[in-house]
Symmetry: C2
Subunit: 151 residues, 2 copies
């Protein structure tokens, strides 16, 4: 009788999940002496490393919604923490490459390692077909948010 009910519950669930994940990230960050932004940046450079793409301060700042001044400060911070290293791009010497240090990978695993293992374990309670549905669902929701973001 209330066709809106289940969808709305799902929206709330989505929001609740992102809140939990945010708080988890913020707590992990604080415990390791970095800020939420630093953690987001760490995730970004680790993702890029895995994808084999080059990260520059410009790209990083754009991904995190920072202006150039804030980005320089962020990169300074990450470099001071020994998580990344700056390297001039030999091809275009205006550019700086952000190279991931070993310590960043360890930190990333400390952050994800435990949580990912738990999440994957919890997925064991779902069949392949169900996981496929979850995946389609998440993809659809992500697309909607990304589209809304682009106005």
């Amino acid at each position: 009788m209330e066709p809106e009910r289940t969808p709305l519950q799902l929206v709330h669930l989505l929001r609740g999940l992102t809140v939990e994940l945010d708080l988890f990230g913020a707590e992990f960050a604080a415990r390791n002496g970095l800020h939420p932004t630093d953690l987001r940046a760490l995730i970004h450079v680790l993702d890029a490393r895995r994808a084999g793409t080059v990260v520059t301060p410009g790209r990083l700042g754009e991904a995190l919604g920072l202006n150039s001044a804030g980005t320089t400060g962020l990169v300074d911070r990450l470099e001071r923490l020994g998580l990344i290293r700056r390297e001039r791009d030999p091809g275009d010497r205006r550019r700086v490459r952000l190279v991931v240090e070993e310590r960043a990978i360890e930190l990333g695993q400390g952050f994800f390692g435990g949580l990912i293992a738990d999440l994957v374990a919890a997925m064991g309670a779902f069949g392949d077909a169900e996981l496929a549905v979850a995946r389609r669902f998440l993809e659809a929701m992500t697309e909607v948010v990304a589209a809304a973001r682009a106005e």
Copy 2:
């Protein structure tokens, strides 16, 4: 052949979705002259209002991970923006009740309205059984994160 592949993709999807939602929220906040924390606080007090529970500065600060000084500043800010109002609790006069103003509800609808409608519309592509799976999935993931957060 790679039993880990689909679950890991799902983990990445989850993370990607939270990143998108965060950025969406941050952009909405900036466009309305408030900070990400303000928006999270707004969501919290609106949720509480719907649930019929009383929000105090203490509860709000705890929910957002702020200390008391930061919370006072946050509440000052929200009050200055005309989103909430402070009211002494007549029962326990140490306490302050945070009352939601009309403007906060409008702002909340401006934020959610569009996005929620789009999300619900996208859910229309899924059958009831599929939505039920998505819901079980989100609940399971939320539980895992919440448990990890409690250490």
